[in-house]
Amino acid sequence: MPDFLEIAALSKSFGGVAANVAISFSVREGEILGLIGPNGAGKTSLFNSISGEITPDAGEIRLAGEKISGRGPGAAMRAGIARTFQVVRSFESMTVLENVMVGAFLHTRRPRAAAQAARAVIDFAGLADLADAPAATLTPPAKRRLEIARALATRPRLLLLDETLTGLTPTEARAGVELIRAVRARGITVIMVEHVMEILLPLIDRAVVLHLGRVLTIGTPAEVVRDPATIRAYLGERYAPS
C-alpha cells in the first residue's frame, strides 16, 4: 500500500539558485507532519510544489499513488489538497460566510447547499459568531482561522498550513493547535510549516527538517530535537555535541 503522500527526488531551482535538492520523504495518512528548517531552507517552494503552484524541475509528488506534481493548482485541489498562505489572503469585500462558501462551491453549484456546507465548517472552526462579519473587519488570528475554514470547505484530504501559528499570542496559538487537532481528528492529513518550535513540536507526529534545500533529518519530535545535524543547522557549530 503506497504512502498517502510520496515525494520522490524533488528538485527545483529559481534562476540558478537551488531551492529544493533531491527531496524525498513520505507522509502517512492522518498524521500531522511538521516541515521545519531555517529561513531559506526551501520549505515554501516545497509547499508550492505540493499545492501545484510551481512545477518541480525533477522528481515527482504522488498522492495516494496518483501523480499530482506539475499539473497545476486546479489538479492538486481536485485531488484533495488545500492550503493556506503565509500572508493571509481573504476576500475582503465578502463576509466570513461568503468567504467559506467560495471554498464550498468546489463541490456544489447551488448557493443554498454551499451556504449549508459553509455554515457547518464555520461552526467547526469556531467562527460561528462572525459568520456575517465582513472579512475586512476580522483580526489577524480570526483571518487565519477563516483561511483554514475556507480550505476545509473544499473537503481536502491533505491540508497544507503555511506558518499559520506564527505571530500569535500563546492563547491564540493554543486555540489554533486545538483546531488543527480537530482537523486531524476528522481524518485530514496535515503538513505544517512552522517556526515556533514550542508550539509545533508537541503537536506534530513527525518532523522533516530541511536545510539548504535538502532533507536533513526525518523523525519524531524527540528524535529531531536531539539530532546533531539539526542542532548544528539551527544553532551553529558551537552547540553541536562533539
Binding site: 499545492s51 492550503r83 473587519t137
Partner: protein, 333 residues
C-alpha cells in the same frame, strides 16, 4: 448568533433588494404615463438606457473586477448588427436586438480569451486598444457604411420593428424593460455561484485559484454576459436615434460614458449603476444646455473630477455614501 441563522441576514437583504427593485419598476412605469414633455421623456430614456448599459459594464468591471475601458466596442457591434439585420435583411429589431446581444457577447469572448491572461492594468489597456481597433475597423469598412454610417429608414409604426414616431412613450417602456432586465440579471447573478466566484477572483485571484476556482472560464462568463447586455443596449439606441456611425457608437467617449455611472454610483453594487445614471445624465444635459455645450469641456471636467473623487474618497460610490456606514458596522460586534 446561533449557527443556523448565519447567512439569513444575506437572504433577507436580497429579498429586500428584490422588493425594492419591483417597487421602483412599478413606480417608474407609472411615472412614464403622465409625462408628455418630449425633452423630459428623452432624458428619462437616455438615463434608463445608461442604467442598463452601466449595469452590464458593472457585471464585468464591478463584480468580476475586470476594468474594461473599451466597452463601446460591444455597444457599437450591437448597434450595427441590429441595424444591418434590419436595413439589409429585414429582420425586425425586436428580434434583432437579441442577435445583437449574442454577437456582442461573442466578441467579448473573443477579446477576453487572450486579454484575460493579463493582470489588471494590462487588461484595461488591452480593452482600450481593442476598442480603438474596432473604431478604426468600422470607420474604414465601407460595406458596413464606413464613416458615413447607416441611416435607419422609418417604415411604419411597429412594435416588433421597434419603430415609433408618434410618441416616445414606447421607447421609454423599452428602455425601462432593458434597465430592468440588466438589474434583474445582476441581482440573480449576485446570489449565484458565479457571483461568489467573481467576487473572489476580484478580491484575490491567487486565493481563489487555491480554492479550485477556474479563473479564465469565470472571467469569460462575465465578459459574455456583460458584452451581450451592452450590445442589446446598442441595438435599442440605434432604433431610438435612427442613425449610427462609428463616431456615435464606438468611440472612447462612449466607453467612458458606459462605465461612468457604475464608477460614480458604486462599482460592484446592485444599485450603483442606477444611481450613477440618474446623476450622470442630468449633468450631461445641464452642461449641454447651460454651460456651453458638449464641446466646452465642462462635462468632461465634472466626469473626471467625480471619478477621481469617488476613486479616492469613496470607492463605494454614491451608493456607498448612502449605505456605506451600515455595511461595515453591521456584524462586527
Amino acid at each position: 448568533m446561533p449557527p443556523s441563522e448565519a447567512g439569513t441576514a444575506i437572504a433577507r437583504r436580497r429579498r429586500l433588494e428584490l422588493s425594492a427593485g419591483l417597487v421602483l419598476l412599478a413606480a417608474l412605469a407609472l411615472l412614464g404615463l403622465p409625462i408628455h414633455d418630449v425633452y423630459t421623456q428623452n432624458l428619462l430614456i437616455i438615463a434608463l438606457l445608461y442604467a442598463g448599459l452601466a449595469q452590464g459594464w458593472n457585471i464585468l468591471g464591478g463584480y468580476c473586477g475586470q476594468v474594461s475601458l473599451g466597452h463601446a466596442l460591444y455597444f457599437g457591434i450591437g448597434a450595427y448588427v441590429s441595424t444591418l439585420l434590419f436595413v439589409r435583411l429585414g429582420v425586425p429589431p425586436g428580434l434583432g436586438m437579441f442577435a445583437a446581444g449574442g454577437v456582442a457577447g461573442a466578441a467579448a469572448l473573443l477579446v477576453g480569451w487572450p486579454a484575460f491572461r493579463l493582470s489588471g492594468h494590462y487588461y484595461a489597456i488591452a480593452t482600450l486598444v481593442v476598442g480603438e481597433i474596432g473604431y478604426l475597423l468600422f470607420l474604414n469598412w465601407d460595406l458596413l457604411g464606413g464613416a458615413s454610417g447607416i441611416t435607419i429608414p422609418f417604415k411604419a409604426e411597429s412594435l416588433i420593428d421597434l419603430q415609433f414616431r408618434t410618441s416616445k412613450l414606447p421607447f421609454f417602456y423599452l428602455t425601462l424593460a432593458y434597465a430592468a432586465l440588466a438589474w434583474t440579471l445582476a441581482w440573480l447573478l449576485e446570489g449565484s455561484r458565479l457571483g461568489f466566484v467573481w467576487r473572489a477572483v476580484r478580491d484575490d485571484m491567487v486565493a481563489a485559484r487555491s480554492l479550485g476556482v477556474e479563473i479564465l472560464p469565470s472571467k469569460l462568463a462575465a465578459a459574455a454576459i456583460s458584452g451581450g447586455l451592452t450590445g442589446m443596449g446598442g441595438a435599442i439606441y440605434a432604433q431610438y436615434v435612427g442613425y449610427i456611425d462609428p463616431d456615435s457608437v464606438m468611440t472612447i467617449e462612449i466607453s467612458i460614458l458606459i462605465a461612468l455611472p457604475a464608477v460614480i454610483g458604486g462599482v460592484g453594487t446592485l444599485w450603483g449603476p442606477l444611481l450613477g445614471a440618474a446623476v450622470q445624465v442630468p449633468i450631461s444635459e445641464l452642461t449641454r444646455s447651460y454651460l456651453g455645450g458638449s464641446g466646452s469641456g465642462v462635462d468632461l471636467m465634472i466626469y473626471g473630477g467625480l471619478i477621481m473623487l469617488v476613486a479616492l474618497a469613496r470607492p463605494e460610490g454614491l451608493f456607498g455614501l448612502i449605505a456605506g456606514k451600515r455595511r461595515i458596522d453591521a456584524g462586527f460586534s
